[in-house]
Every structure is written in C-alpha cells, then in structure tokens.
C-alpha cells in the first residue's frame, strides 16, 4: 500500500523566515504534485514535478523532486502571511494511470 507522509503536520513561522516541508512516499513514482488548500476551499495546483531532479519555482515557493530518495520538498523563502494555508503533496505510483494518493497535509501558519 502506498504511503505518502508529510512533515511537519503543522508549521507556525514568522514572516520573513525560511522553511521546508518534506514529502516522503513509499513506492516508485514518476509524478508528484503539490497543492494548496485555503480553509473551507478547494485545492489549487501549485507544481507538477515529472522527473528526478526537477525543480520548479513560483514566487516564494520552490519544489523539488528526488525520485531515488522518494522525497519531495517544498521550500518557503521569506514567508508572508498570504502563504498561510494547508499544503498537500500527491503521488501517482508508476503504472497506475492518474490516481493520486495524497499526503497528510501540512498546515502552515505565518505570523506577523
């Protein structure tokens, strides 16, 4: 059974600080996605990572993928309050079409 684990589950950080969210998964995969969810809202796609060593950046967020280590990271640079949300990674195991298995989520709270 595929397991996708994120840590930390909850992160409180001050504006201006840097931090990294980790996503570990237990089986081979060639696709990993990051989503953002605001309270009470749906999911917004942030990044699609399709190969080993892939790195993507959008604003203060940067995601990377290491398929050999089965690890993805979401790095936050100089956090601002608007980044407060829950972040999910999701994995598609190799050979399973497009069925996503989601991580547990990391709730990020950026304080002033």
């Amino acid at each position: 059974e595929l397991k996708v684990e994120q840590n930390p589950l909850f992160l409180s950080m001050q504006e201006g600080k840097n931090y990294t969210i980790y996503c570990n998964y237990s089986t081979t995969s060639d696709r990993l996605y990051w989503y953002r969810q605001d309270p009470g809202k749906s999911l917004e796609s942030l990044f699609v990572l399709l190969s080993n060593g892939a790195v993507k950046q959008e604003g203060r967020l940067m995601a990377s993928l290491d398929t050999k280590a089965r690890l993805s990271t979401l790095h936050i640079t100089a956090a601002v309050h608007d980044l407060s949300a829950t972040y999910f990674c999701a994995v598609v195991p190799t050979g399973t079409a497009s069925k996503l298995t989601f991580g547990t989520g990391t709730r990020l709270q950026v304080t002033l």
Partner: protein, 117 residues
Amino acid sequence: SQTIHQWPATLVQPVGSPLSLECTVEGTSNPNLYWYRQAAGRGLQLLFYSVGIGQISSEVPQNLSASRPQDRQFILSSKKLLLSDSGFYLCAWSVDEASGNPKETQYFGPGTRLLVL
C-alpha cells in the same frame, strides 16, 4: 478554458436519506473524472475515478456509488447515508491520456460540504 462545477455547495441530510452530488466539466472532451472525500482536518481519499462514459472504478468499499451518464458529468450517490459519510466532497478532472499529456495535474472543483445528522 476549462471549468468544473459542483452542486450543491452545502448539504445537510438526515441519516438514512439518499444522496446525489453532481459534477460537470466544461471546455474539454473525454476527461478523466474523480471523486474524493476529505474528512474534517484530514487529507483527501480517492473514492471513484472514471475514464469514460459508464466506466467507473471504485477505490474503497463504502456506502457510496458513482455514475457517469454523459462525457462531462459525474454523479456521486448513496441510497442511505451514514454519519460517517459527512465530509467535503471534491470532484476533479484531468486530461485523457489518449488525447493529451497524461501527466498534467488534476483540477479540482469547488467542492460540496456534506453534513449527515
């Protein structure tokens, strides 16, 4: 551009009552369609997915069923709701692997919040 709709947005239903949630996608053909459930404060669990009309795959045994009567319509149903069916139900679509890049992300609808009392 493509859009995905879900209704109703919120629903309060008594235990034992039936359920029908609807999802429609505009602006694309033959999408893959998905139903997910998110329990309060938890991650998302894939319930059903469909690669075409009448083709439904169930991921977990449960009190729910899904149907796809039209190419861009996906329906989630139950004959008798349980308390444990409460949650946030999200429909999603992705590009059909035969007609486009299968590695694109899944796009999520606005969701239906269901409370079973």
